[in-house]
């Protein structure tokens, strides 16, 4: 079981957290103007990279707040954690 760094509480065990999928998916600005296809892509289609992936996590068994993380989907290693309104950090 790996430790995940909550930005507020510090490192906690993986089972304290819940996964929230890809990060930075913004609600459409003009929903009424969206085509069916654009809606489908907003709702159902997500990136699925092997490597660094920006995603959302919530510290469900702790502060219960959401944050973003950059995690490598090949090694499962957390490369960075950051706030929801921040841009994904660039990892050299």
């Amino acid at each position: 079981m790996q430790l995940i760094e909550c930005p507020r509480c510090g490192p906690r065990e993986e089972i304290d957290f819940t996964y929230g999928g890809q990060a930075h998916i913004a609600y459409p600005e003009k929903p009424a103007e969206l085509s069916d296809e654009a809606w489908a892509h907003y709702i159902f289609f997500r990136d699925n990279p092997q490597g660094p992936f920006a995603e959302r996590w919530v510290h469900s068994a702790g502060c219960r707040r959401w944050f973003n993380a950059l995690r490598d989907t090949g090694t499962y290693k957390f490369l960075a954690v950051y706030e929801l309104n921040e841009k994904a950090p660039v990892i050299p």
Binding site: M1, Q2, E14, I15, T18, Y19, G21, D36, E37, A40, H41, I43, F44, F45, R46, N48, Q50, F53, E55, R71, T73, G74, T75, Y76
Partner: protein, 416 residues
């Protein structure tokens, strides 16, 4: 050779065939094929088989980046059943189950298909209602299904703890008697042997990296060993499909998740059927040799690492020991992971693409082994005729835009 008497317990493994000799050729790839199948798992091999058998198409290559049937085909827990909820799913899985029932003869190869039945346990009133609904839905679709109460569960699988004082008591179960398991490696090898005899080229250790196109047609595949021309191309690359389609600008709504399984040491026969529980999240069967084969759900996060989290195993073991107290002293022999491709409605994506001769097959997630012959049969039909077979028409990529989802979440998504 000793003469066995009826009292003598059967040696574990005695029913297994001898380790096979070489079963297929390893040819040098030609420049062109009528059909190129990307991915040499069960689905790719089965598709090749039915192209040969039902459509007489033998100028076919199956291209596999690793070794044949070494992906999820080698990692799954081999459960085969057709008691899904929705008509569309039941239809394709039942079609497959019927083919499983004649596959050993068709392939002329032992696949150890054992129809020992499956119990899907219900632990709450809601489970009971959902289960009864599924039983009725199955019957209406001509699939064998029945509801059994807790005593019935005990009769079918005496080692299940049916006492009422456990945390999630067993209130009953659905039972599909025709469900079963097969020996997954032998299934893959049986198909490979058959298609190789018919002249299909099985090209291993070769990775498809992209496509050659001409307008809205695909005319070949790019591989790390050079280009190969193709009359049509079928993608049966499971969790790796989205990486390939992206090179053509086609987005597929799949997310790859680690799914793990484990086996115990060899035990005497104790577990005569298959028992699954979505609610406490464990499923168990006893392999032909005697290991308990157990699985649970996927890890929630995306991953490609072919291993899963330890806490999933911990919860699965807690559930297993409560349901089957006699497992408490069994030793874990090994565990492993596979990467499964999950879709938003937990149903596969199969059919046509914006490229007129490129065919899609992915998103089988945690349950595609049971579909192996059925999918191969209908995909071969689709490739040979250029029109989606009626059984896979509901599973096209368009459904995420037009909203006609086949939502198997809850009904069938969690366990296999």
């Amino acid at each position: 050779m000793s003469i066995s008497t009826p009292e003598m317990p059967r040696t574990p493994g005695a029913d297994l065939p001898e380790h096979p000799d070489f079963l297929w050729e390893n040819p040098i790839a030609k420049r062109n094929y009528d059909v190129v199948i990307v991915g040499g798992g069960g689905h790719g091999l089965a598709t090749a088989h039915y192209l040969v058998k039902n459509h007489g198409i033998t100028n076919v290559a199956v291209i596999e980046r690793g070794w044949l049937a070494g992906g999820n085909m080698a990692r799954n827990t081999t459960l085969i059943r057709s008691n899904y909820l929705w008509d569309e799913s039941t239809a394709i899985y039942e079609h497959s189950l019927k083919l499983w029932e004649g596959l050993e003869e068709d392939l002329d190869y032992p696949i150890l298909f054992s129809q020992r039945g499956v119990l899907n346990l219900a632990h709450s009133l809601q489970d009971v209602r959902d289960s009864r609904r599924r039983v009725e839905a199955n019957k209406l679709n001509g699939v064998d299904a029945e509801w059994v109460d807790a005593d019935g569960v005990k009769e079918l699988c005496p080692i299940v703890n049916t006492s009422s004082d456990i945390r999630y008591p067993v209130l009953g179960a659905t039972y599909q008697a025709r469900a079963g398991i097969a020996k997954h490696d032998y299934v893959g090898w049986g198909f490979a042997r058959r298609v190789s005899q018919a002249g299909v080229h099985l090209i291993q250790d070769t990775q498809v990296t992209g496509f050659l196109t001409d307008g809205d047609r695909v005319v070949g595949v790019r591989t790390n060993k050079g280009d190969i021309g193709a009359g049509s191309v079928a993608l049966t690359a499971a969790g790796h499909t989205s990486t390939l389609t992206e090179t053509l600008g086609i987005r597929v709504p799949i997310q790859s998740h680690p799914l793990q399984a484990l086996v115990s040491e060899l035990l005497e026969p104790v577990h005569p059927t298959i028992v699954m529980s979505n609610a406490v999240h464990v499923y168990v069967s006893q392999a032909h040799k005697g290991e308990l084969v157990m699985g649970a759900g996927v890890d929630t996060y995306n991953g490609f690492g072919q291993r899963g989290s330890f806490h999933i195993i911990e919860r699965q073991m807690a559930a297993a020991v409560e349901l089957f107290p006699i497992f408490a002293r069994a030793h874990l022999l090994r565990s492993w992971g596979g990467i499964v491709d999950v879709t938003p409605d937990a149903s596969p994506i199969v059919g046509l693409t914006p490229y007129e001769n490129l065919y899609l097959n992915c998103g089988w997630g945690t349950g595609g082994f049971k579909a192996t012959p059925g999918l191969g049969h209908v995909l071969a039909h689709t490739i040979a005729t250029g029109t989606p077979h009626e059984l896979i028409a509901p599973f096209n990529l368009d459904r995420f835009v037009n909203g006609r989802l086949v939502d198997e979440h809850g009904a069938a998504a969690v366990a296999h």
